[in-house]
Symmetry: C2
Subunit: 345 residues, 2 copies
Amino acid sequence: MGESVNLSVEALKGRVETIFRKAGLSQDHASTLAAVIVAGERDGCKSHGVYRIEGCLRTVKAGKVVPDVKPVLRDDGSAVVRVEAGGGYSCAGFELGAPVLAERAKKLGIAALVINDCTHFSALWPEVERLAALGVAAIAMCPSYATVAPSGGKEPLLGTNPFAFGWPRVDPAQPYVFDFATSVAARGEIELYRREGRQLPEGWAVDSEGRPTTDPEAALAGAMLPFGGHKGSAISTMIELLAGTMIGDFTSSEALDFLGTTTLAPRHGELIIAMSPQRFAAGRPGDPFARAEVLLEAIAGQGARLPSQRRFAARKRTLSEGITLTAAEAAQLDRLEALGLDAVA
Amino acid sequence: MGESVNLSVEALKGRVETIFRKAGLSQDHASTLAAVIVAGERDGCKSHGVYRIEGCLRTVKAGKVVPDVKPVLRDDGSAVVRVEAGGGYSCAGFELGAPVLAERAKKLGIAALVINDCTHFSALWPEVERLAALGVAAIAMCPSYATVAPSGGKEPLLGTNPFAFGWPRVDPAQPYVFDFATSVAARGEIELYRREGRQLPEGWAVDSEGRPTTDPEAALAGAMLPFGGHKGSAISTMIELLAGTMIGDFTSSEALDFLGTTTLAPRHGELIIAMSPQRFAAGRPGDPFARAEVLLEAIAGQGARLPSQRRFAARKRTLSEGITLTAAEAAQLDRLEALGLDAVA
């Protein structure tokens, strides 16, 4: 066994990029994918860090993502900016569309970015953070795979459907950002309980008959549940409608049919809505950003944690002290670098 | 005591309208307010029915709403349509802005309606239903009063902040519509538990020290909690930011400061985002409305209830059989009709 390794954010990004280039991804895809994976490590989100590289490569090897397609921007000057990802990873498409989306929101007040036919694996917070840095508030959402039953139901139909929001704060290093699954838990968490032989907390899942269960095996054979009962279920359904059928892309059920497995990165679309606070607040009393600070400070001031604060603290630390990979993570990185696609099943 | 009374939807609307006219509301306000109150009765939502008339009149009598102001539309051709409600009830402002919003969403793909300086008391579902009838999907949200603590906090800061969504279905009489408070429960529900001497379910509220409580007295002295833990809290905060500070209007905390009580209808603004599925789906495979039916039928098909189905069933019944008011409700209606503003404190 080796030892843990410390790398600068830039150095890690270079290594991850090299792995993707060797696997046949174009420079654009390799670089944008590496950026979000390293952002995960930088922010202490191991679940979206180097751990994800293998899944990306597996999806390439399975022929379920186009590794070198050039995303195409379709802009008719309206409030809907579209990127055709052509079956490639979503990150390059987002980077292409994000500045146009922000510019359009500033011009018209509100605008939307649609990414179609993309393969998705990243969290949504890097995207709403990027838009907050461009000065706009943003809501992002996408379907995933059918693993969640609607509230009151018993069969997997909805995805874990993430919902994210970003608001530019006066300190640009700490935007108000949240990003969460609309399921109570992630499938991987249930898998973890199963391996450890532990019972699930109540309310996480139903068995294949739709009965509440705390047995991980029964849960995996059944379905996960949305957060917040019928309210979370309704939001998850809204995400299927808006970021699935409305944008002419897969619902979570269709995405699972397309792939036939939840072990590869899912193909679907994404919807991002951006709004310009300056435009919305124009002619009204008070500065929207300054007034937002009063609200957010009142939340923190009563001891409630603002979302993403843990990430920002980790980021501050890793930017000065570097990212520490465990011996196993470092070995995995070496292996992927040496073997490329041959390293994955 | 009298007896229960059966009235047609139109007849009840006429009576409610008369009450508002006598209380000094302009025809426009009287008619739009009566429409949403009667919609509540028609759909079996007693909590938004004739019960609400008195609160509306109390707010007029307290001088906290302008009963005859004409809402003004400000439209610069961009994706943000604005209505200045001038301190009047929101319903007339919404009616003025809704067709322009739908037209703009169809033209640009996505658009927003801002209603500023309005006094709000109605549910949001009549609004997203109206927009669904105009062929657009819509998200509506607004702050309310500070009665909810952020997750992890202990002081009332957020409102019960409703979040609503509408999607036009193939059967125009049954759009996909949800509308819920982002708090676990409404303040009135806690008051009901107190009167009945019952303990609250867990997770509804905290006491003034931020400790979870099931004691209604302690809850009323403390704060309600958002639904779904930190996720619901984040959504509620998003609503404060977007439909409060971003649109240059009151947050829930500022709304409470302005009124000094939760017994009058709150002054604040509202944000409604509308999207044209036809525009978003243009050039993509499949019809978005037909594809949505597949999803929604799969939800209903596994025994999960779609939101608003109970309302639609009640509506079908009352439209043919009329609305039945209890003896107490009928007496209250007579009293308000006879005494006008003198009937309220």
